[in-house]
Point group: C2
Chain length 242, copies 2
């Protein structure tokens, strides 16, 4: 398998790194993952939540490198402007899209939370973009041309990177299933490690969360063989009965 243009660039969007409040984690993670699969990360830019800066950077990086990854700015608040900036950079129409709205609606229905106007912002997807699965918190990323738009929250960013990496090296797309387990990772880790050993052809990831004081994790099982993923999910569910 070869990659047509095995160069990549990353655009990190958000004031918190530029102010020194947060130390970058996503760039370091992506750099390691790309090195592992033989893609050469050639440039990273970090800009603030500033529309002209985001648009100019997206255009420059998209034209200069084979693949571009962005992190940050796709949440529900007014300063989450990445999706609109990507649409503007490619002169593409953007609005709430039905497929993304359905994903959010199902997620918030399960949680018993209202899909209000702020949350609906996360369903704004440019025309023609392909959605990127978010097994952690549902709100999808997307791919437009060679730009992969992903979340800034490190656990979500990492899950999205896992979703898109196989296609970069020409592999078959991965199927995934998610199980939400309301126990601390310390209780999950042992049985999960055993499960991973029993299914060496699958990728099994744990994405911890804390909500209203309750610890839990989204366990994501990925693989190319649908039957094998099903089998592992059944085993996983039996390991952690409600």
């Amino acid at each position: 398998m070869t990659i047509a243009n095995p160069t990549a660039a990353m655009l990190v969007i958000g004031d918190e790194i530029l102010s020194g409040r947060t130390r970058d984690a996503n760039m370091h993670f992506l750099a390691g993952e790309l090195t592992r699969i033989g893609v050469d990360l050639k440039e990273v830019r970090i800009v603030s939540d500033d529309r002209p800066a985001i648009i100019a950077s997206v255009k420059a990086l998209s034209a200069g490198y084979g693949t571009v990854f962005t992190s940050g700015g796709i949440g529900p608040t007014h300063d989450d402007i990445t999706a609109d900036c990507i649409a503007a950079a490619f002169d593409t129409h953007i609005d709430v899209r039905d497929d993304a709205r359905a994903i959010l609606q199902a997620h918030y229905d399960r949680q018993g939370t209202e899909l209000n106007e702020a949350r609906l912002r996360m369903a704004r997807i440019p025309d023609g973009a392909t959605l990127i699965e978010n097994p952690v918190s549902s709100a999808p990323g997307f791919i437009l041309h060679n730009v992969h738009v992903m979340a800034g929250v490190p656990s979500v960013f990492q899950a999205m990177v896992a979703s898109v990496l196989p296609s970069l090296v020409g592999g078959a797309p991965l199927l995934s299933q998610t199980l939400r387990i309301q126990r601390g990772e310390g209780d999950i880790a042992g049985p999960l490690g055993k499960l991973a050993e029993d299914f060496p052809d699958l990728m099994i990831g744990s994405y911890p969360y804390q909500k209203d004081g309750v610890y839990g994790a989204n366990i994501v099982i990925r693989g190319q063989d649908a039957a094998l993923v099903d089998e592992a999910m059944v085993r996983l569910a039996s390991l952690f009965p409600e």
Copy 2:
């Protein structure tokens, strides 16, 4: 005191961060320092040791922001090309400069080490540039137009940032003196903390090193009042007799 254009950008040069081998420390440090003095870090770019990429980034950032900081690529090896790229970006002549050579010569004479051709590369300074003091390992950085060129090694980078920050906010330049103490920082820390308390108007920094298995630290005392710096240096020397 006001700053004419209180915006800044940073250019990090080096493959080790893009490959994921090293996690950035300099950007996070600089971001915090700039926030502290009210300078707004607006953009960071990270590029590899690649001449066209460095030159293009320097030009873009220098034109777009009030102050630019670079880190990395000013050491003695063949892939340390930052100084030459900065000269090229500003169409300026560069060669080994006598003032920088004298600093290196004095440093290596003290160490009993030869100033060979590789080390002499670190004296290549563009015409018209102002040197930035390096109290840790001598080899200077420099300022050309609004670009501050500094080392990638975090302890040296931090010492250079301390050297240049006061001038950014319009303060008088800091005078500095350095004492090399061949003891571990654990032995130095107590007396040094007391000294810092006794001289609240001075900045007292400790930059540890390990050389040939021996631990030590360069203690740098900075201040605007030469007599006060002298007084503190005398006290420091008396605390740690040879």
